[in-house]
């Protein structure tokens, strides 16, 4: 069995209760290398809870998440030590926040923002760090003259692109995205999606994208998971679910998009 036959990430009966309040219940799926999974649903349906469970930012009430590390061993993430988990987070994983201010250091320059992960894994050559940061700014279409400006003076779209560069600089295999296009205007959204789609295919990234925007799901993802009230009600290939939804709620969701 080759590496690509073994899933990268396996969620197994993930459940989270906030006291008596349900976050999400019994979510199971496998994600393979290079595969993009979209999680859609209205607000409060447990999408973000699920994303935080997968990325070990929250501990599940029940169930587990297993991940295949770069050395090929599949490990239960709850069993990893904190140092290992942090290492995973800054090398093999990326996390794109909806609010770029959460994912960036707003007061340090764009170059240092991109370079931080490199320095954290032991890069100690200023010229090379800066060179790599410049390349990444090019890739996410930020003018290289802006490398010494802090993201505080960037526009919303630029911040989001900088956040993506910061996450991808260590060539992660898995990226979590929480509403990556939320709060951006339509044309900026389109550019960002175009960029993301290019990067995902080019780098062969696996991604879990949480969104309430079905257009994002259609453009980016291979598979889709529809959530409602903390549970997964429908899964399938993206075009299949979007063009021929089976569940009444999915039908409602799809039909609630205004035609352009």
């Amino acid at each position: 069995m080759t590496d690509t036959d073994v899933p990268l990430l396996v969620a197994d009966g993930l459940t989270k209760y906030y006291g008596r309040q349900l976050g999400c219940r019994d979510v199971s799926f496998s994600l393979y290398e290079g595969e993009v999974l979209a999680v859609v649903g209205e607000s409060g349906s447990g999408k973000t809870t699920l994303l935080q469970l997968l990325s070990t930012q929250l501990a599940p009430s029940a169930g587990r998440v297993r991940y295949r590390l770069r050395d090929g061993a599949t490990r239960d993430l709850a069993e990893l030590g904190e140092a290992e988990r942090r290492f995973l987070f800054r090398t093999d994983w990326g996390y794109v926040h909806q609010d770029a201010a959460l994912g960036l250091r707003m007061n340090v320059s764009a170059g240092a923002n991109v370079g931080e992960r490199l320095m954290a894994v032991g890069w100690r050559h200023y010229g090379r760090i800066r060179g790599t940061a410049t390349q990444w700014l090019d890739r996410v279409e930020i003018d290289r003259d802006r490398i010494d400006d802090p993201p505080l003076v960037y526009s919303g779209g630029m911040r989001q692109r900088l956040q993506i560069a910061r996450n991808l600089v260590t060539q992660p295999r898995l990226v979590f995205m929480d509403e990556p296009t939320g709060g951006l205007d339509a044309s900026v959204q389109a550019r960002l999606l175009d960029l993301l789609r290019g990067l995902v295919t080019e780098l062969g990234l696996a991604a879990v994208v949480v969104t309430h925007d079905l257009a994002v799901a259609r453009l980016l993802s291979h598979r889709i998971m529809v959530m409602k009230g903390g549970e997964v009600i429908e899964t399938g290939l993206t075009d299949q679910v979007l063009d021929d939804p089976r569940e009444p709620y999915s039908q409602l969701l799809v039909s609630s998009i205004l035609p352009p």
């Binding site: 942090r86 250091r105 340090v108 240092a112 370079g115 320095m119 050559h125 800066r130 010494d148």
Partner: protein, 281 residues
């Protein structure tokens, strides 16, 4: 009412034992900040309450004490702390680095190399090197625990991006014994190399922040840098107007309001010794 009788070196014995335990732990884990129950001292925070407590705890009746402030023996802080211990402990005091067994310092390391019979006590205002990069104490402790120091280099990167070179000139971060990143208190980075493989025991006390840390004798202390921007122990490219030394750390003294100024050694004892040798010759 009688004047209050103080215990030897002001602090009571239980307090000293508590501080000594913290010091022992600090020596056992070089560069690690050990929390301790800092006491109120008869001086304001920022005037060396941490250093004074450490000094009081390690001081013995046979010790000879020297106190320097910015390298000088005759500034207010140095004079008053020296008098404080002369009064409360009755120990001998000196201004000569070579005669002292215990040296409390603010902002400098003496130019004369220290020996294994000496202890250097630093007054530390802010012990946490990551403080201005990461405001949460819980998070900085975690970063230390996991040796997650990428953030420290972000600061140095910013320096180079902004100024073309590492512009941090004091409180320059060091890595102690290959493990903990430490703030060497606001000493100029000129003094950083003196910490490396130093024969004397170096103790750091932060009174307001309630932390003690230490560098045991002959410990490796490396200043953080980049391969293509190596650490440089910078000094003003002048020589001392009094003793003409060109290898010491200099203070700039403004002499009038017409732009007149001169540079003198910040280590007053070292400067005097050099001038004494000159007149004798």
């Amino acid at each position: 009412m009688n004047a209050p009788a103080y215990n030897f070196a002001y602090l009571d014995e239980q307090t000293k034992r508590m501080i000594r335990r913290a010091i022992l732990k600090a020596i056992a884990i070089p560069g690690y900040q050990v929390p301790f129950a800092s006491r109120e001292m008869p001086m304001p925070y920022g005037w060396g309450t941490g250093g004074v407590q450490v000094t009081a705890s390690v001081l013995g009746p046979d010790d000879v004490l020297k106190v320097i402030d910015q390298g000088s023996d005759d500034t207010t802080n140095a004079v008053s702390i020296r008098k404080f211990f002369a009064k409360t402990a009755g120990v001998r005091t000196t201004t000569h680095t070579t005669d002292a067994t215990l040296i409390q310092t603010r902002h400098r390391i003496p130019e004369t190399p220290l020996t294994e019979n000496q202890i250097l006590v630093y007054q530390v205002p802010i012990p946490e090197p990551l403080r201005f990069l990461e405001p949460r104490e819980t998070e900085t402790r975690r970063l230390h625990a996991l040796a997650d120091y990428g953030l420290m280099h972000v600061k140095l990167y910013e320096d180079i991006a902004r100024h073309g070179h590492i512009a941090t000139t004091y409180a320059y971060p060091v890595k102690v014994d290959g493990r903990y990143v430490m703030d060497p208190s606001p000493t100029p980075k000129f003094d950083n190399p003196k910490m490396d493989d130093c024969a004397a025991l170096q103790l750091f006390g932060a009174g307001r922040e309630k932390r003690i840390y230490a560098i045991p004798p002959h410990t490796r202390v490396v200043s953080l840098d980049f391969e293509d921007h190596p650490f440089e122990a910078s000094r003003t490219p002048e020589s001392c107007a009094l003793c003409r030394a060109d290898d010491t750390f200099l203070d700039e003294v403004i002499t009038d309001d017409k732009g007149g100024r001169l540079f003198v050694c910040s280590d007053s004892d070292h400067c005097e010794k050099r001038r004494g040798a000159e007149t004798a010759a």
